[in-house]
Symmetry: D4
Subunit: 252 residues, 8 copies
């Protein structure tokens, strides 16, 4: 970080050369922490290309439009997750330069306009009911500038479907497994790949599935060592972590 | 059940023919239910060869010796589960005609002396830690007169080990899968066989395994349709059910 | 399985006799797993008469109609569970050769058109509220070609109702007990029959029933050895397992 | 309660007639609540014959001996529950006029010396493992001056054993059912009697029994209306309630 | 029960005297259990005056009307619980001789037309939100022919309100405490009365109340010995038990 | 409390001086507890300025209007929490002298008309979703006559935002931290202040948040010693406690 | 805090006057956060008199002796909680100037040597089993320089015992209620006092008490507004919070 | 993977050229799956340097010695986790070329003999009680050939300790946060770094910590997006994942 402009040195020099009063210097230093961290945040975004992420649930159309306006001024990439159809249509009407992914419940900067990595993340899910979360993970990964390969409908109850794709899954640099019910897919895939795997339990199931808590607990107890777990239905979190890894690999 | 001797008809005839007083007939009928069910119980054991099962936990050596004495008088097959080493040794010292299975924690009639079915039950478990429960299931099945094939150490984290044995597993008439942690083995096997599968969760694991509750819930939520679930560590229950099925198939 | 045509031997012979190039042979072998398992699946369906089962919940009318079209091309038996009235009516309008069971929430090939076993499964439930799940189990069993006898409204709070039917229940080759609340019916019936019993907890109850979790836990802890448990409201699973058993018995 | 002596009227009269100073009257009134309730407590014990109950767990031998000494001075009946063998022996050595019930883990005034009601409470339990709690209930009931009839080892897995005794159970004025595992005995008995039934879940079981929580929840969800539930292993509570009812009936 | 007509003796005599064939006697005896229990049921209702209770939830208007028709034929008392406004109005329109209790969600035989006991049950609740469950308990008790006294809005956060009524509460022969949140009222009242107390937890509360489970657990753990607990919101169960006790006291 | 008027002394004097009959004195004393506590309640309100608080949820518009009418007669301060928009508008239409806080879901006496303390409570929350609960806490505190400073949107995922305000937070006499999800803000703030901190978990989150139970448990386990916890979403409780502390400090 | 010496102003002045190089100034500022917070910590201890608290559980005798040595060098007050008898005796042997409180499991600076506030905290507990936690709260409060009044053995099952002391409890400036089982004491006391109340659930109980979780949940759901809750058995936390409040009141 | 030797092509060529009989070729292909996966496993280990990991808990000294013997023959790196002192000493006595890490409960190939990456993983933990799990993570990472930097005792209750080290933490390529209680450290660190973070909850805590379940749930609900979670006390899993990432970065 030798290239970093050093605001504290500048300030001290200004005090020394009487171009800054002690009171004003104190005032600026009192905000040091805040400026410092904010700068770090901007630095991170620059280097990693991680967009501002907006959790759409619970925000009004008006609030969302205002936030987007602010971000577009700084030419930021847009990523709004958990947005329903009605809000999404209102936003697209206002900002036709964005696109709406109906299955993923995401509004974002068009995927095709984003430069992506050569390496890819493998996104694997068991059944069609898990698709919204799988797509949330996939679109998040892509918006963050990382390529993905989708391997859907490969649940363990017909395990030959998984084996037909295992070589391509293994070629990815990271896997995200999205599954509901007993979540066994996570352990099975982890035993077949040699890269980190993120397990995203979904709330798909009924009865003793307990709205995904059973799936979460099962995945946390995986007998395979290379897995870690996100919150129920947190496809975004899976995509965010996976994208960080592929970016780091490709930037070295 | 046309061959069944009808005690009520006999009783009524005896009343009619004055060989039985009304008071005595009433007395006998007052015990009808009890006798009826007891008879049924004996009938079941005769036909199915199911032994009296003794849950060893919480019983003293003296109590166990007394129960065995009573059963041996009727030439019953003996099966004592959940018996620790100290009690087992005391019993074997007293009844050298029985045998002690150290891993299964079972004392029983010698397995070799029991005639067994041609068809077998497939008993599958993931890791060496699950062996005591797997053996409890296996010995129970065998004591009930049913052959078993053991497929141990075939966990899903190295799934090729399972596939090396899948044909033999499929040839069994019923499967018992014993697994701890996330219990994924149950779903994977169920997708590969076409007979009923009993899932026995074990308390093997740590942390969020919750002493087997997580495994139980995961198995209950299996995405594969042909499974049903026993209580945690209930290898006996798995063996008992599996043996009933193989016996029924072979007796038809 | 000596009658099984061996595709690998054919392939190897074709390579040896130069009727197949090594590249083509490799291509075919790369799909070996998939083909192999697919074949197994078809084999299972042929032998056991198990239909493709469609979980109707979460699928659109259009999706369901498309799936049915595909299955009917192969003359498959149709079984769609968890389908609501609106979707069911749309499907029947499109495929009048199917029938809709309103209580069971099932659309399927007409039950009367399916050949069934001589032996039957006993289906027992406690109250009228459990009927939808009991019927889901019954229709599933019948669609799979197995006869059923229904014993409804025989809860333990008036246990004489159960005893009036116990002989007929015992004559079945397998029992399915469907119950909510404390699920005591499962233990009581299991003590009276000598065949396997599947317990299906229902979400019928209130308060500390916890939407069926209490019933599930109670059934898992049954003091009677011959029971195993399905997920809450999983009448289909109970029927599927029971049908496998009766079929196996009758095919031997 | 028209016969009740009215201390407040006396006090006011004394003030009016100058036999009591205002300050002293205020002092007495400030303790009104405390005296009032204390009196009530004594009154209750007199009328109902309910003894002081001592929870033995966590108290030292010395503490217990001191408490007994105090109670014996007032000729109270003694009832100490949850007392282990070592403490019990120490107490009996000190107060040979008491007796120790080893299964119930109770030290108390000799049962034979206590006058008991004509009507009885029916105490019903499933298995030998539940005996300590059943005996805690039985001895508590007897110490409180109420007769009991014991019906042990009548679990639902062999329901004919229960029916052999059902008439005698019905003749009691209240039932206490002690059971572990799935607790089905509670619902079955409740459907056969027409008096109140107290369900005492025990911590007998393993795995998903969750140390009695499953039994408790199952009993709370009983389909039979005439039951209510005590804490896990609270045999004392069951006996205390049952004794209150029989006493009230007999005193009218 | 010496007055009981003995059908078995009659039957045996008829056989002996040739007025009944053996076949017909067997036929009758084969239904013995069922008739026996049914008779017992009727006997109970006769002696105790307990009505048939109908759980209204989940039953259609048509079903309810049909059930009522059947009961009215036998001049039974009617009690339908958990019935919503729409169904209730439909029933009252059809059977104007019944009355609808809007707070209790009950339709029943008019309370005023039912003869009631001299002794009463004390029904105590904490807040206005608990009123529907308190009224379900109260109306149930009254329909069963037992007088009640209502003590509402006497929660422990302003404990002086409770003390203003404690003498009248104590005069009842049994108490029902209905409370939500932490359910402390149950322990406080139990310490002040000398009769059995039924605790009915309600689902009133929010957050960590867990829809009444917290209240249920708290009541189960009451430090006061004379309480037992019903399911969450089970006002009917509380009333049913309480009524049994008062009836038994008054019939002796 | 030497200034307290002593009603009992007056009463006793009146009896002594024959200005009060013994019957009337008894009548008054019979209500002693109730009057006593009521007086205490009034006394508390006078000294602390704590208003009557009305929990709006589950009360009708008519009920609310009637309660307000009663309170306004005594010139009480009004505080109605958990009131939805429709009810709030109806009340404001009826009592225009009150004001409606839309985010807090509170109707109350206008905040500006209430005299407030010099010291303030610091109210800190993490995200915009927690605002309704934070505002419930803030308005409650203010209605009780205590100043507040709001520090919103200072979650730990961007901890520099918190540090920018930490000095001002520290100057408050008590803190209320409102947070959902993992609730880490509570521990972080507690480590930085030297006054008591109330943690209010919110139900903001999804999946394994379990509607706030996870947040509640996390806050209860805070590694920082100066925190205590309220129920989920209980902003009112946080404000009530905080206001008591500031009032006590300022009144000394 | 105008009296606070300002190190940043000094630094800036030194830079301006060339008595400090820019590099050295940058070096000092880079440690600003750490120094700043450390200073704050020391400042807090000075002003509030809060001692360093050592959690004794899991620390060895040697570790404890070393920590004490370090603290004594700075003349700090010593407070070690959760220390067992063996460790405590070893420490007292080494540092006879400390004292050991056997019930509270605390080793600390002698209570008598610590100057205490005029106002006191009321410490209330239900039964003798709760004493260790109550004493942990009491000793913690006293070590922190705050007076306490103990009100032990005043459980709600005999509520007159509580009322005998209520005036003295009310005179305290804060209450700590320590209770197990259903924890009702917390709600009852809170309704009778007008100061903040800290509820400390204990793990005293059995069965469905769930090692204190039930008590914790019940206290969190208290119907009384002026309470907040600590972790199970966290008497120290209760004392720490209560002491902060009394200190703040007395220092104003 | 173009360099990969293709065994299937060789086999087919051998068949074609008659150097392999069809029967032998079939035999080899029948083991294809198993060999294929085994080869993959070996390949993974070669490329990534991941050692065979032995879970020491539940294995005897004899078993462990035998496993080590087998691994040493293949010159494998040794890593045995969860091994207690007694077993560890026995192994070191037998294999003095291994080393025992007492805090981490690990026996392994000497850390100094393993070549490590230039980049490092940051390992952060809150308190001294979490050290065993933190060291399990650290040693695992190092045995896998990845450098680590340890940042211990930086809990959020004194957050300045964390900030003193934040720059060094940020320079790592991945973080592992080990924490018990409320686990807030995970969210705080995640907000300050721009690389993936693995959260390992520990079972450190008491009461409502529920042996780490609370910590696990809190970490799963982190408000910071770049975290994922391992099982309770699974330091090994954290190290394994972190090592995979650093290795992948450095190998590109």
């Amino acid at each position: 970080m030798t290239e970093k402009h050093d605001p504290i040195e500048s300030l001290l020099k200004a005090v020394k050369h009487n171009t800054l009063s002690i009171d004003e210097a104190k005032q600026q230093l009192s905000h040091y922490d805040e400026l410092g961290f904010a700068k770090i945040d901007l630095h991170r975004k620059k280097r990693q290309g991680f967009p501002e992420v907006i959790f759409g649930e619970g925000k009004t159309k008006a609030q969302l439009i205002k936030i987007i306006e602010s971000l577009l001024k700084h030419n930021e990439i847009i990523l709004i997750t958990r947005i329903d159809k009605s809000k999404a249509n209102a936003i697209i009407a206002h900002y036709p330069q964005l696109e709406y992914h109906t299955i993923a419940n995401i509004v974002c900067t068009p995927i095709d306009s984003i430069e992506k990595t050569e390496h890819y993340a493998s996104i694997i899910c068991a059944g069609t009911s898990d698709l919204p979360i799988a797509e949330e993970a996939a679109i998040t990964t892509e918006v963050m500038g990382v390529s993905v390969q989708r391997f859907y409908d490969v649940g363990v109850s017909g395990i030959h479907r998984l084996f037909a794709h295992i070589e391509a899954i293994r070629k990815g640099k990271v896997s995200i497994v999205i599954a509901g019910m007993e979540g066994a897919l996570s352990s099975v895939v982890s035993g077949l790949v040699d890269h980190p795997l993120y397990s995203v339990p979904t709330s798909i199931g009924y009865g003793a599935n307990l709205e995904g808590v059973t799936t979460l607990l099962a995945m946390i107890n995986s007998c395979a060592p290379g897995t870690s777990v996100l919150n129920i239905d947190n496809g975004f979190g899976g995509g965010y972590n996976a994208a960080m890894i592929v970016k780091m690999i490709e930037s070295h």
